[in-house]
Symmetry: C2
Subunit: 702 residues, 2 copies
Amino acid sequence: MQADLLDPSSLAPLFRPASIAVIGASTDPGKHGTIPLVHMKTSGFKGPLYPINPRATAVQGIQAFPRLLAVPGPVDLAIIAVPEAQVPHAMRDCAQKGVRAVVLFTSGFAEIGEAGARAQEEVKAIARAGGMRLLGPNCMGLINFANGLVATFHTAFGPGLAPKGRIGLITQSGAFGGLAYQVAQDRALAYSLILTTGNEGDVDVADGIAYLADDPETAVIMLYVEGCRDGRKLALALARARARRKPVICLKVGRTEAGIAAVASHTAALAGADAIFDAVFRQHGVYRCASMEEFFEIGYAASQVSEPPSGPRVGLITVSGGVGVLMADAAAARGLEVTPAPQQLQDGIRAMVPFAATRNPIDVTGQIVSDMGILERAIEMTLAAGFYEAVACFVGSIGRSPVNGPRFMEAFPRLRRRFPETLLAVTCYYTPQFRAALDQAGCLVFDEPTHALRAIAALTQFRRAFDAIPAAPAPLPAREKLPTAPCDEATALAILARAGLPVVPHRLVRSPAEAAAAAETLGLPAALKIVSPDITHKTELGGVALGLATPEAVRRAFDEVTARVREAAPQAALAGCLVAPMVTGGVEAILGTQWDPVFGPVVMLGLGGVFVEALNDVTFRLAPFYEAEARRMIAELRALPVLQGARGRPPADLAALARALAQLSRFAAAQGPALRSLDINPFLVLPQGRGALALDAVLLPA
Amino acid sequence: MQADLLDPSSLAPLFRPASIAVIGASTDPGKHGTIPLVHMKTSGFKGPLYPINPRATAVQGIQAFPRLLAVPGPVDLAIIAVPEAQVPHAMRDCAQKGVRAVVLFTSGFAEIGEAGARAQEEVKAIARAGGMRLLGPNCMGLINFANGLVATFHTAFGPGLAPKGRIGLITQSGAFGGLAYQVAQDRALAYSLILTTGNEGDVDVADGIAYLADDPETAVIMLYVEGCRDGRKLALALARARARRKPVICLKVGRTEAGIAAVASHTAALAGADAIFDAVFRQHGVYRCASMEEFFEIGYAASQVSEPPSGPRVGLITVSGGVGVLMADAAAARGLEVTPAPQQLQDGIRAMVPFAATRNPIDVTGQIVSDMGILERAIEMTLAAGFYEAVACFVGSIGRSPVNGPRFMEAFPRLRRRFPETLLAVTCYYTPQFRAALDQAGCLVFDEPTHALRAIAALTQFRRAFDAIPAAPAPLPAREKLPTAPCDEATALAILARAGLPVVPHRLVRSPAEAAAAAETLGLPAALKIVSPDITHKTELGGVALGLATPEAVRRAFDEVTARVREAAPQAALAGCLVAPMVTGGVEAILGTQWDPVFGPVVMLGLGGVFVEALNDVTFRLAPFYEAEARRMIAELRALPVLQGARGRPPADLAALARALAQLSRFAAAQGPALRSLDINPFLVLPQGRGALALDAVLLPA
């Protein structure tokens, strides 16, 4: 991880070049090297363009040069579209010319295997030595709508460029970028910038996010991601976007085995376990989508509002009772609150429509067929009540009605202007004109009622994430001197205790008498376990004795346990036994850390027991983090009710669990790659107010 | 439950009347009583229409009559649209005239409360006495596209009627019916019949399903449901639809507390726990949707195919690698199999496009930009391989391209005709003309790639459900003579044993000596529990002793347990103690039955342990059912891996569990309402081949 990669100022020549050369520009307008020039004739790019072509004197009517070095003025950005064999030569020319950024379209690098990967390393080395940022190889380039830079050979972007919007899109799939541009034409979606990263020889998704986080033209960031090589960098970039209060919407593919296999056969190897990606997204308030329509619709919603709603209360207004129920279900299922309307509002609605449902949803019923004013007034009254952070209306086919369409094309924008504090989402069947009028006014428009609630919930989630940004990264403790080989449980527990985690009182003993004395001091009944750096699965070898009620029982157990283990594992070095008091009650959790090759130190939480292990009810976070993040992590467990005291059990000490998770995360982060993994199993969470205790731990150094 | 309600022949006058009277027809064309006549002037209804109006001589140019009894010919169907106070009178006229079915639009009945409910009972009584089927009150009527019957006052249905299709739609919300009709105009959706059931005074959703199951015009049934009063009748109707191999797609609202509250404020009280609805849908192969767009899209897909695909293998073809990954994820997440393409097919694709991904997804890459024939041939080769039951293609914006659109408007229909056995789903951005050409040919068309896979998975599920229809309902055992008051564990276990369930060997003993002798006979170590009809929670009162290793320990335990319970519950009648051998190993399950007021006897399955109880990992079925259904029930548990032998445990005896569930379901069904509930907890499922055992049971008679 190189923190300076997140200094986006070095990307300025890539996104805002003063001058551009195209190496491989051709007189054939369909060639990859010509298309950017065709695009930029009409896209409004202001700086000089230099086609490079050994034979032509002009390309697309622009003066051409036989070599880059023949260009008279300085060149900020070079677009390279020559065959793979000529790329190193072209790159060296760029370095010599003082080019500051390169977009490399050419394929045939890491995506085709070993030889290509070597060629890519050579290209990267030239870029690095020349101080040039490199986009690609094997990429479709980028489009900056703010300055008319169209450095792509994708044909979807011409002729003419769509108007500039507020969405920055970064995609690892070039074809997806073209689709995203086309989809935008059907919706009120508009981009500030589209970046395709291809093989990510240098500039990757994280670089793009960091740039967009600081880009004043961009308010919303959308990502299409298949994997990444540096998960810490990605997390840092996401944290920066969140700090700037820019919603990030992500379509991360490769969730299933079939999907991961498809990724592998489609791009240069990219990595990262999907569950960790998921954790990183939750940790940084990223909204993850499961479909293209969700991706574009949440992106649209985020780009329509200047500030997401500050709370979860949603008022529902409907012309169909049935759809009202569907909306209430959708809202509740996504964590919004379908709070009953204030009495005064209910009375007001009922005064207009005696049979209306008024609680929430407000169902103005078929009455509106005879008097559309009723619907308009019901919406106005609900907004005026100022009680809901968002109001979602289902108004049927009004958006297509020749009579009522124009009325509401005027009414919704007026209401939006009058009540700018409340998010106003309208679902209906509409004409393009109707939709445009509402979009223009900053309403959210949908044709599916559940999608309106999905979008409101997403926006509310963004706001919650923005409001929960930690003031500073969690501070790290000093690095611990870890053992260099697998260590025994006593050593592991001692390290945990030094790291500030609560550990069961214990003593390492070397004789039956010592064992009995320790048990009397620490408290009976006692547990006794063999201690050996060579043995991980103590129970299986007979190395554990539990519930020892008397000193005599402890004494006997020492001999028995030692004898059993000697027989079962004659090679194992035995350090003695560990004596601890039996601790009962509470809920058994599993806490762990591991060094992930992509994401670095990751903390895991799960609840103990065979059922939950089988159900894979675990959750992850990148280390380090604060207790507030640990609490969100705990809240993600499906088995949360067990900790909250389901079925008459006392609620567990969640504060102690959160403290331990945060502490463990800082410990893991401080150790870095020196700590391969640490498993605390069980970690006993006692009833509220009584804390928590690590009962056993396995620590593996790198 | 009245089985004859499922004889749909009595509904013929409602759906296929030879003649219709409209009571409350008015000279004002906007009135509820006039709209059906306006509609039917152009809808193609062939029989005589009789407007009934005390003052007018003609309505909408049709001769009117002052009273129904003044109509000269017979009247099959009467539409009533008079104010609530005049409804009983109108109904009596109908009975006297020999009318056979009534559509009652009028509101102000059960939906407004107690008084309205009484008025509704009166109307029902008149209908019953007169031998008339009654649709409504408070309903929007029905439309039969086969004969031009438009017995509704919803204004959406005119002028003119959309062409007849294959979908029968039944909705409890009238407004939803109007929406569904409007939505259909945008898609290749067409109805055979639309039925709105309103307050369901007589004809309910189940009646409608039963009718449509037999209706030759209807191939697909779509339901909008908020609740029901007779869950057994609904289940019978769904079983009939499944027996006729007609896919049923359902939007059931009221999933969440907020949704249920909204239902209550919107219609006459309808009932039924959502979890049981869910079980009934799964039991009968109904596809349940979570949004309107899903509802209409699955309905569309089902109506497009004549027979759903016979297997789960899906071939994916894409022009964007990224979208290919998304499709693979979506397919796998929904249980489809993204099986690698046969080698010959892969070789053929690679011969055309050297850099193509060929495994599955098949990614023909940007190559197609220069040669669209590649895409067409890739699809053709995949279909010709005959390896996949369904093929899903993502072809980007081809459906809008002026150059390539026409080519593929011809190619897809041609491929569809050539390979009719394989489902062909196309996702792209399209013009209406492009879509229509593909729809016409029986392709499935989508604008979202994940939705294509969702639809294919839904169709595959229908096929699986059709192919798993049991030959006959499960036969019931004789009715058991149940105790009339709460009974003790020994009695409950004895009843279970007689019902054919495996029960732990046990003996009821009345003295320490008897206890010791029983334990020696049955096997040591033993368990001993107090037996009393007055005590349900034995453990809490100290009424259980476990792991008794010797006869002496059993003897002592008898006295101790009895003494403890006498002290803790001095009022309880003690029948003695129950002695049984300790059984260990295996997985603890919970089996239960309960008499549900809406659905009758319901069987529940969950796994034991506080975690799973907290996670609410339980599943239900209506009793009775066969073992095959029990196996599907078991497969729905999230904790299934525990039973399958997760983490080195032996797999459990699933056959024994399925047998016990089926047996229990038949027992519960035979008892009917006499059995309030029966809980077997724990029901120990032993390792494979070793069976299963009920260890404890609580039986509550009605």
